[in-house]
C-alpha cells in the first residue's frame, strides 16, 4: 500500500470510533447480556422465561398485531392514494405530495397529542360520531385506537415509498391491454399487481419494521401502560419498579430478531424487484 492509502485509511478511524461507541457496543452489550441472568449465570434462561410468561407473550402478540394491521391499512390507503396521485393534474399532485412529505415528520409525541384532541374521550370527532349515533363509545387508548394512530403515521411513509414504484407501470401497457380486450380488472389482475408486487411487499415490510420499533407514539399516548415490546423493554431499564437489564436485553434481542428478519426480506425483495428501463 502507498502512503496515500494509509492516510486514507486513517481518515476512517474517527468514524469507526463513533460508530462502535454508539452503535456496535450497545448492541453487543445487549446480545451478551440477553444470555445472562442474575440467578443462573449464562444460559437461555431469559428466553425460556419470556416464552412461558403470558405477560411477555402478550407484549409480543400486541406488537405483531398492531404492526401487521396498521401496515396493511397503511399500504392499502397509500396504494390507492399514490395511484390516484399519478392521475391528477400536476399542481394538485405536487401539492399533496409535498404535504405528505411534511406530515411524515408529524409522528411520536405531537401526533399522540393531536389524536387525543380529535379521538380522545372528549375529542371532537368522538363527540361528533357519538352525537350522530354512529358509535357508542370509542377508546383511543385501546388496541383499535393504537392501530388507527399507527395507520396514520404509516400513510405518508407508504406514499413516499410507493409513489416512485408506479414508474414501473407504463401507460402504453394499459392501452395495449385495453386494445387486446382486457378490462380494467383483468389489467390489474394480470399486469398491474404482478409488476407492483415486489414494491408492495418491500414497502409493507418497511412499514412493519417502522411500527414494530415505534415507541414514542404509544408511550406518549398511554404513558407506558399499553403492553407492547418497546414499552416493556424501556420499562425494564428506565422504569421506577423492577429493573432487569438482562431481561430487557433478551426482549430487545427478540425485537431486533424480528426487525432483522424484516430487513433481510426487504433487501432480498429489492434485488428481485422489477427494474424499468429508463
Amino acid at each position: 500500500m502507498t502512503r496515500g492509502k494509509w492516510l486514507a485509511l486513517l481518515c476512517l478511524v474517527p468514524f469507526a470510533v463513533f460508530f462502535i461507541v454508539f452503535q456496535i457496543a450497545p448492541l453487543v452489550w445487549v446480545l451478551i447480556h440477553s444470555v445472562q441472568s442474575e440467578e443462573s449465570g449464562w444460559g437461555l434462561d431469559n428466553f425460556t422465561r419470556i416464552f412461558s410468561s403470558k405477560f411477555y407473550l402478550q407484549a409480543i402478540q400486541h406488537s405483531l398485531e398492531i404492526s401487521f394491521w396498521s401496515s396493511l391499512f397503511g399500504i392499502v390507503i397509500a396504494l390507492l392514494g399514490s395511484y390516484s396521485l399519478r392521475r391528477v393534474d400536476s399542481r394538485l399532485r405536487n401539492f399533496v405530495n409535498a404535504f405528505a412529505n411534511m406530515t411524515s415528520n408529524f409522528s411520536g409525541v405531537p401526533l399522540a397529542f393531536a389524536f387525543i384532541i380529535l379521538l380522545g374521550f372528549n375529542g371532537s370527532i368522538t363527540i361528533m360520531l357519538k352525537q350522530a349515533g354512529i358509535i357508542q363509545d370509542f377508546n383511543l387508548y385501546s388496541k383499535t385506537g393504537l392501530i388507527i394512530l399507527y395507520t396514520y403515521f404509516q400513510i405518508p411513509l407508504g406514499v413516499l415509498l410507493l409513489y416512485p414504484a408506479f414508474d414501473a407501470l407504463r401507460e402504453d401497457w394499459r392501452e395495449s391491454a385495453a386494445l387486446l380486450g382486457a378490462n380494467s380488472w383483468q389489467f390489474w389482475r394480470h399486469i398491474g399487481l404482478p409488476v407492483l408486487t415486489p414494491a408492495l411487499l418491500g414497502t409493507f415490510v418497511i412499514l412493519l419494521a417502522n411500527a414494530l420499533g415505534a415507541y414514542a407514539t404509544v408511550y406518549a399516548l398511554t404513558t407506558g401502560n399499553f403492553n407492547v415490546l418497546p414499552i416493556r423493554i424501556a420499562a425494564m431499564v428506565s422504569g421506577d419498579i423492577s429493573l432487569d437489564p438482562n431481561m430487557a436485553s433478551a426482549l430487545a434481542v427478540i425485537l431486533v430478531g424480528l426487525m432483522t428478519l424484516v430487513t433481510l426480506v426487504h433487501q432480498w425483495l429489492l434485488k428481485r424487484s422489477y427494474h424499468v428501463a429508463r
Binding site: 481518515c11 468514524f15 399533496v96 415528520n105 393531536a114 415507541y215 408511550y219 425485537l255
Partner: protein, 266 residues
C-alpha cells in the same frame, strides 16, 4: 376510453387525492384549532378564539430552554455527522470502492436496531465508569449521529455519483492541485447543495426524536419533545400551541429543502 368514462375516472382520482389530503390534514387542523381556542371541551366546535396560549408558550423560559437544547443537540450532531461521514465517503469512493458494499450493510444497523434497544446497552455502558455520558447532551449528539447516518450516507453517495468524483479529482490534479486541495476546493463546493438538502431533512427528523432523549437524558437536559411529553398534564391548549409551533418550524425547514432540491434539478 369514452369521454364520459374518463370524466368519471378523473372525478374519482381527484376525490381520492383530496380524501388522502384531508386524512393527513385532520390531526394537524384539529390541533391548530385547539391551540387558538379559548376553551373547547365536550363540544364539537370551540366556544371562542384567542392567541393567549401562544404568548404563554413563547414567554415560558422552560420552553425556550428546551427549544435551545434541541437546536444545540441537533446542530452539533449534524456537524459531527458531516465531519465523520464526508471523509469516509470520499475515501470509500476514491480509494476503496469495494468498501461501499460493507458500508451499505453497516448503515442498515441504525434502521434494524430501534433506539429503544440501543438505549438498553447505552444506559448500562455509559451510565457510570470512565465514559459516563448518560444524562448529558454528549450521549444524544453521538446517538443522533447514528440516527442521521443512513440517510446522510445515501444522500451524499447519490451526489458523489452524480458529479463523477474520479474525473473531477483527476482533472484537478492534472491542473496541479494536491489531493487535499482537489477535495476541499473542487469536490466539496460541488456537493454543497446536495449536502444542504440532506442536512435540512436530517435536522427535521432529529428535531422530532424522542426515544433517546427521554430514556437517556430526560429532564437533565430537556429537549423540546421531552418537554412536550412532560407538559402532558398542563392545559391541552398549551400543548397544542407547542405542537403547532414545533410543526411550523419543521415545515419551514422541509419547505426550504424541497425548494433547494427543485432548484438543483433544474
Amino acid at each position: 376510453m369514452s369521454r364520459a368514462e374518463s370524466t368519471t375516472a378523473s372525478v374519482y382520482h381527484r376525490s381520492v387525492v383530496w380524501l388522502l389530503f384531508l386524512i393527513l390534514l385532520l390531526p394537524l387542523l384539529g390541533t391548530l384549532v385547539y391551540s387558538i381556542a379559548s376553551s373547547w371541551s365536550a363540544t364539537v366546535l370551540p366556544s371562542g378564539f384567542t392567541l393567549k396560549w401562544y404568548s404563554q408558550l413563547w414567554g415560558d423560559p422552560r420552553f425556550l430552554t428546551a427549544f435551545g437544547h434541541s437546536l444545540l443537540v441537533c446542530v452539533a450532531a449534524l456537524v459531527l455527522s458531516v465531519v465523520l461521514i464526508l471523509p469516509l465517503l470520499f475515501v470509500v469512493h476514491y480509494h476503496f470502492p469495494r468498501l461501499d458494499a460493507l458500508m451499505n450493510i453497516l448503515i442498515l444497523l441504525p434502521f434494524a436496531v430501534p433506539p429503544v434497544v440501543s438505549s438498553v446497552g447505552l444506559l448500562q455502558l455509559y451510565g457510570s465508569g470512565p465514559l459516563r455520558m448518560v444524562g448529558t447532551p454528549w450521549i444524544l449528539i453521538g446517538c443522533y449521529f447514528t440516527v442521521a447516518l443512513p440517510f446522510m450516507y445515501r444522500a451524499i453517495t447519490n451526489n458523489l455519483q452524480a458529479i463523477n468524483l474520479r474525473d473531477l479529482m483527476d482533472a484537478a490534479q492534472l491542473l496541479g492541485a494536491s489531493t487535499w486541495q482537489a477535495a476541499f476546493l473542487v469536490v466539496l463546493p460541488n456537493l454543497r447543495k446536495g449536502l444542504m438538502v440532506a442536512l435540512l431533512l436530517s435536522f427535521s427528523f432529529l428535531f422530532g426524536e424522542f426515544v433517546f432523549a427521554n430514556i437517556l437524558v430526560g429532564t437533565q437536559y430537556e429537549t423540546l419533545q421531552v418537554f412536550l411529553n412532560n407538559m402532558r398534564n398542563s392545559s391541552g391548549h398549551f400543548t397544542s400551541a407547542l405542537v403547532i409551533s414545533y410543526f411550523l418550524f419543521v415545515l419551514v425547514l422541509t419547505w426550504v429543502a424541497t425548494f433547494l432540491n427543485k432548484d438543483k434539478s433544474q
